[in-house]
């Protein structure tokens, strides 16, 4: 087991609400570590709509998802939050002393007094293509990412999709695969033009096979794939396949949060609206993932929830200490924390 990282607060999810929580907690001297399954901050704002305008952020008549993320990162910089990207929190356990151990799928362990779940719609995970029976082959012949290229050596590889991941892996795996086929439902790709050009050069040379269509069926036994059926306009064809890599984008799943002993309400976490604490003391939930009567899934609601949660979190981290409410406009001590006084 790796070394244990000690902190005041672990925030699960680095979307806009998780980021703003760093600011509110920071004003009360609480140090934060943020864990997110994506490779960058911003959550849905960065993954789903980085370029799209948002019109209901107070005082921003129009701001893009990426723009909002950048501004929040600038705003929380004085508090030096620690980010841990490309990781999913897999375990959350209360210790005998009341603190929590938070474990990631990379094996890191955090010891923290407070946990803030700001996980939005859940963690982004690869979308499973709607091919009947695909589950039986997952992990053995069907992979949603390439962890070790060697698993594809001398195999009949089928890559499905028309984005950058599909084309990048087609180009990378072609030299070591026994055969490589790319299936996409149309001739246009939403990938770097250079990769598209390279792939079609390989197709012309006969090194890559390109099929226009969709995968409609898989055959094999014991998790080992042997062939795939491709449905095209002119009918179905079956090709030998021993490794399948579908790249169908990401979807949000609640994931391991369901196993942490929290009360749930239709996959959302009910909270006390005074403190935003869940059914477990010390574990808070803010933003889209929580539920209370009248809840609205708005970024601005999440910001408000972060401010109220902080009052309760501070009392847990510094029991007995008087929590003094101050304004950033007039408080010299807050301004010192922000580095402006």
């Amino acid at each position: 087991m790796s070394e244990i990282t000690k902190t005041d607060v672990v925030i699960i999810g680095a979307g806009p609400v998780g980021l703003f929580a760093v600011f509110e907690l920071g004003l009360y001297d609480l140090k934060c570590h943020l864990i997110d399954i994506l490779d960058r901050p911003g959550g849905q704002c960065a993954e789903l709509y980085p370029e799209k305008p948002i019109y209901d952020i107070p005082a921003w008549p129009e701001i893009s998802g990426q723009g909002l993320t950048d501004k929040l990162m600038e705003q929380i910089k004085p508090f030096a939050p620690q980010f841990h990207f490309n990781r999913m929190v897999t375990r959350l356990e209360r210790q005998p002393d009341g603190q929590f151990h938070v474990e990631t799928d990379e094996g890191e362990v955090f010891e923290t007094k407070v946990v803030v779940i700001a996980a939005g719609g859940g963690s982004f995970q690869p979308k499973r293509p709607p091919v009947p029976g695909i589950e039986a082959f997952e992990g053995k012949s069907v992979f949603y990412s390439v962890r070790r290229m060697e698993e594809f050596r001398d195999e009949d590889v089928l890559i499905v999709g028309g984005g950058d991941s599909a084309l990048d892996w087609a180009l990378n795996l072609q030299p070591i695969a026994r055969s490589l086929t790319v299936v996409h439902r149309r001739a246009e790709f939403r990938a770097a033009p250079d990769s598209v050009k390279k792939m079609f050069e390989l197709v012309e040379r006969g090194s890559v096979r390109f099929e226009l269509g969709q995968v409609s069926g898989l055959t094999g036994a014991g998790g080992q794939l042997s062939s795939a059926t491709i449905k095209a306009a002119e009918g179905e064809t079956e090709i030998p396949v021993t490794r399948l890599l579908p790249f169908f984008g990401l979807t949000m799943k609640l994931g391991p949060i369901a196993d942490w002993g929290l009360n749930l309400h239709e996959n959302l976490i009910p909270v006390n609206v005074e403190t935003f604490e869940t059914s477990q003391p010390g574990i808070f939930a803010i933003g889209d993932i929580n539920w209370y009567p009248g809840k609205l899934k708005l970024i601005l609601s999440g910001f408000h929830e972060a401010a109220l949660m902080t009052q309760a979190a501070k009392r847990i981290v510094s029991p007995g200490e008087r929590v003094v409410f101050q304004y950033t406009t007039s408080s010299t001590s807050l301004q010192k924390k922000l580095g402006v006084a």
Binding site: K52, G162, G163, E188
Partner: protein, 106 residues
């Protein structure tokens, strides 16, 4: 106002009234049409409001734009009549539009 009819996968017809300028997806959500998830809320970012436009309405509804085509890559059982309902804007020309809901969203 335009009448938009959704035909669910099991053949149930649901007539809805939609305001000009709104989207077909919004009408589905407002009327709780089963089989339209609209996970991303209409940002053309998820492909879970996928519908098939009835043959009679194909020309009136128009073709998907490039961004919508990209998103349709992630939809289930895409056909030539496939559209994302969040990208179809309601207008007088679409009064009477019929769309079919697929077996499932991706």
């Amino acid at each position: 106002m335009a009448k938009i009819t959704f035909v669910t996968f099991d053949g149930v017809r649901m007539d809805t009234e939609a305001e000009n300028g709104s989207t077909v997806m919004e009408s589905a959500i407002r009327n709780a049409v089963p089989g339209i998830d609209a996970e991303c809320g209409g940002a053309c970012a998820c492909a879970t409001c996928h519908v098939y436009v009835d043959d009679a309405w194909k020309d009136a509804a128009g073709e998907p734009e490039a961004m919508e085509e990209d998103m349709l890559d992630f939809a289930y059982d895409v056909r030539p009549s496939s559209r994302l309902s969040c990208q179809i804007r309601v207008s007088d020309e679409l009064d009477g539009l019929v769309v079919h809901v697929p077996e499932r969203q991706a």
